[in-house]
Symmetry: C2
Subunit: 570 residues, 2 copies
């Protein structure tokens, strides 16, 4: 009993210490209506903000940076507005692990002083408030990743001199380009979860529909950016953890190939598992913002500071190639070609997601492009590989972290890790999995190459449209099926989330012709309730080959604009 109350006290003290960092003037004093009365708080939040604060915080990263890097707006005013809005967001949906508004405002003043003196910005993100998932170490604050046992430590190590001092490589690079860092966002304990819940801050709800999850594991990022509490942020993705929060929150988000964005010096779970590497990717409200964030990091040559980063600077030529394909097709001098995958042959997407695919299909066809039905190597095989890799250690790391503090296990983690550690894989078994994974990657690559025969463009498909999840956003404890995102991690491909529409209970009903493909498919469809999802964001993935970030961001922006103009649900 002593131990249990002890971890609960520790978690509570931490939770309250974070809340206390919100200045009195920014505290919400009225009682917030429950989700049953008010699902969507993305507009509700505006009542606490001045028109000027709304103006500042509702720009995308690009438009904001245009103002802050030219001295049009001061970094201090912008930082203040975003800190205020982030504080509100946290009170509405519980999305922050660490708050450092004072440091942000101090940094912003120094940026303003720099601009005043040098008449130029520090870098392309000068004065832009950026949020970070709570895996990044930022001086002055902790990194807990939701583990009670990490409170007061550095990655669980008591007395480690790096505590409160060390900064992750990404943090250094963001500072070098002028970003203002003001908060770190919530994660599910262990990071291996499609929703965001832990024993420190509780549950991060979806701001657009508070019956639903904000996604995970970068759920705090998704919720915060959806509420415009930062101008963009960085999450991580080993099975969908950038893309699921992005799609659940109506954002753009990219899972780049491993090695482009530096992971060096960030905390992680199961660190050293290198069969599928977790990667860092930005989330933001527009595709252009993704480009700015991505490009800004690469401008710092991360490969000189992160031994796992690859020497691939931002390649204008790849982006230009994509843009000229778009331009040519607009002038009827060519076309793009995409694959479209409606189902992974195991669990079909729910009606809102199926409708998003139809919307995208229509939009892309109207633009004159070719769509081919995607008939890839078995995605179930990819799922098996991914699950085998995520559990190589039998859940040893995950269970260890819970055991240290005695905190209660998070039930959502059971599908991966069970209730207790299981036998670990040995070197030979891991090697065999790596060989099987490589064979699958080769098979998929050959399939992708083979589409050159079908597109009529002389090229294989330029990208693949598919669901990112079977649901628009998920209900708590129902995010376990991640096969629509994790196959991308197995392949190490590039994938961008494109927002498409909103769930609509009037049209998004299961059709009479629905036939389940599996027990799980049936269960998920049986549990489907159009009413609960009504109003939730629905988006898709646009998947490209490995290291095609420049191209895929450009294409995502293009098709994202195209579906935006779609008015009528079909």
């Amino acid at each position: 009993m002593a131990t249990q109350s002890s971890w609960e006290d520790t978690a509570k003290a931490k939770r309250e210490s974070v809340l206390k960092l919100i200045p009195e003037k920014w505290r919400i004093s009225n009682s917030i209506p429950p989700a049953s009365e008010l699902r969507d708080v993305t507009r509700y939040i505006q009542q606490y903000l001045s028109p000027r604060e709304i103006e500042i915080t509702e720009l995308d990263t690009v438009s904001l940076a245009q103002r802050t890097t030219t001295g049009q707006w001061t970094a201090a005013e912008v930082a203040e507005a975003f800190c205020h809005r982030a504080a509100l967001a946290h009170q509405l949906v519980s999305c922050l692990h660490e708050i450092f508004f004072d440091a942000a405002l101090e940094d912003a003043k120094q940026l303003d002083a720099y601009f005043a003196e040098h008449k130029k910005p520090v870098g392309p993100l000068h004065g832009v408030p950026i949020s970070l998932k709570d895996q990044f170490h930022v001086k002055g604050v902790e990194t807990t990743m939701g583990y009670v046992s990490w409170i007061g430590t550095f990655q669980g190590q008591k007395g480690d001199p790096r505590r409160l001092v060390f900064e992750s490589e990404m943090v250094k690079e963001l500072r070098a380009v002028g970003a203002v860092l003001h908060c770190k966002t919530s994660v599910p304990t262990t990071l291996m979860c499609g929703e965001t819940v832990n024993n420190i801050i509780g549950y991060t709800w979806n701001p657009k529909n508070r019956h639903l999850s904000s996604g995970g594991s970068s759920g705090g990022e998704g919720a915060l950016i959806a509420l415009r509490g930062s101008a963009g942020g960085f999450g991580t993705d080993i099975g969908g953890s950038v893309r699921i929060p992005a799609v659940f929150n109506g954002l753009y988000g990219i899972r780049p190939s491993a090695g482009r964005i530096p992971y060096e010096g960030a905390a992680n779970s199961m660190d050293g598992q290198n069969s599928i590497l977790s990667v860092i990717g930005p989330l933001a409200t527009t595709a252009g913002s993704l480009k700015l964030l991505f490009h800004s990091v690469l401008s710092q040559k991360p490969w000189l500071h992160d031994p796992l980063a690859v020497e691939l600077p931002w390649r204008d030529e790849l982006e230009q190639e994509a843009l000229s394909l778009i331009k040519n097709s607009a002038a009827d001098q060519g076309q793009l070609a995409f694959g479209i995958m409606h189902s992974d042959d195991y669990v079909q997407p729910l009606p809102p997601v199926a409708r998003a695919l139809r919307i995208m299909k229509d939009a892309v066809q109207k633009l004159g492009h070719k769509l081919i039905e995607w008939k890839p190597p078995s995605h179930l095989e990819a799922l098996k590989l991914a699950r085998a890799i995520y559990t190589l250690d039998g859940g040893a790391d995950a269970h260890y972290q819970f055991r240290v503090s005695g905190e209660s296990f998070i039930p959502q983690l059971a599908p991966f890790f069970g209730d207790a550690p299981r036998p670990q894989k040995n070197a030979e078994q891991i090697a065999a999995i790596n060989v099987a994974k490589r064979a699958y990657q080769k098979l998929y690559m050959d399939y992708w190459n083979s589409t050159a025969e079908l597109t009529g463009t002389g090229r294989p498909v330029d990208g693949l449209f598919c669901p990112a999840a079977v649901f628009p956003a998920a209900r708590p404890c129902k995010t376990g099926y991640i096969n629509y995102t994790s196959f991308v991690n197995v392949l190490d491909y590039t994938s961008v989330i494109v927002p498409v529409t909103l769930a609509n209970k009037a049209v998004d009903v299961v059709g009479a012709d629905y036939t389940p493909l599996s027990e799980l498919d049936k269960m998920i469809h049986d549990e489907y309730d159009p009413g609960i999802y009504d109003g939730a964001h629905v988006g898709l993935q646009l998947v490209g080959r490995r290291f095609q970030e420049e191209k895929m961001i450009a294409l995502a922006g293009y098709v994202g604009e195209a579906v935006k103009s779609t008015q009528v649900p079909n």
Copy 2:
């Protein structure tokens, strides 16, 4: 007894079947003098060749390609000359696992027909005979990697339909650029050895000094190219296996960073171990040849066919940058800066190698460049990491392969694998090793960056000179200490072997001031015998950062030319 004679019979039958593929006219009928009477057979071989054959086979890859890609010389004549010389080489030092001269001559005729019809070459290696280590699958012949149990199988699998049909990605790409493939070269069983010995073809001796090893594990490549039995070839390197044979045989050879040259579809030992990846690299007689071979493979965009290949085409700008640094320094408008490491603080190089370092130091200083003493993070730490990674499976794969056929274990493998399998590492232990390796890589990277403070060029060092081995070439069973090469694999850096001089018993004696750094250092120096090494090749490594192949090949060619002009041993 029955089993033992069975594997011996199988090995003998295989060995003889390969010898039988040498046409009668190319068999050496006189008895070859023993090494005690004739160390060096690199000139001896010429007696069996016509002046025209010598003219053809003694060009480097670049000069040869100039003649074959312009139609000046026919592919058929060139192939015939190299097949003849490869046949002789095998009879002199036992360096081939597979012979396919008939297929080579047939391919060459088709290339000639293509040229006659199209008035242009198939590609940049049109008509150039290239040898491959026996890990590459080539249609029509086996891949045994020296395992008796692999004879008559595909990678040990009986009845696998890929047998004699499947080709590795590299083989396809070499064919696509016009290379003529004529033989596959010998390897030590398991590949984890600095010399080349197996129960099928026996021992591959060093053609320059037949008391010594040709190195390993690409020892057959080293010996064959030293005897000019191919115009260049490809080996693999996980701990020094391209560089050791290159340096032992007076060749240039490069260990590129993982992901540049496609490994897809090649056989391997301990396949799926992905903490340190084995990489493919070319060996040849000049640095320019390395460039041609490297560039030719990249021209095929391997990243579209190998899921582990990185989208990094040959970058002219990196090479040009290096060349302009060279040009500027020649015009006294700048200088290059190199690190120089004389010892890894555990085993000092033997006198010939120490002298090679002095020769290089003098040459580089005469050219006006800066040299700084290399004081890196502990190389012993790198050795520990490398050894831990090479033995993650406790030798399970190695011992399994021997057990299948019952063939006798190769004693040279005992340092890695012991006499029997040992306990394997589990997922958590492997992850911890990966984390420690990444931390070491980061430490080394930071050290490299820090040299910008010392070079006076504003840049960190442009490269690092260090031994590739403590000995010039090694005596059998004495190649175990690989720390001078394996640290590069831990770091995934680029390293090029530069030939420097020949061992000279008159000057290469242990000085009176020699002080051992360790028991092993003492043992190696006690065993040193200047007489045995006399005449052996001595070279060095020029190490560069990750993915710097274009730059490092250019610099290697530059310093290689500089030391060539050095006449007096110092």
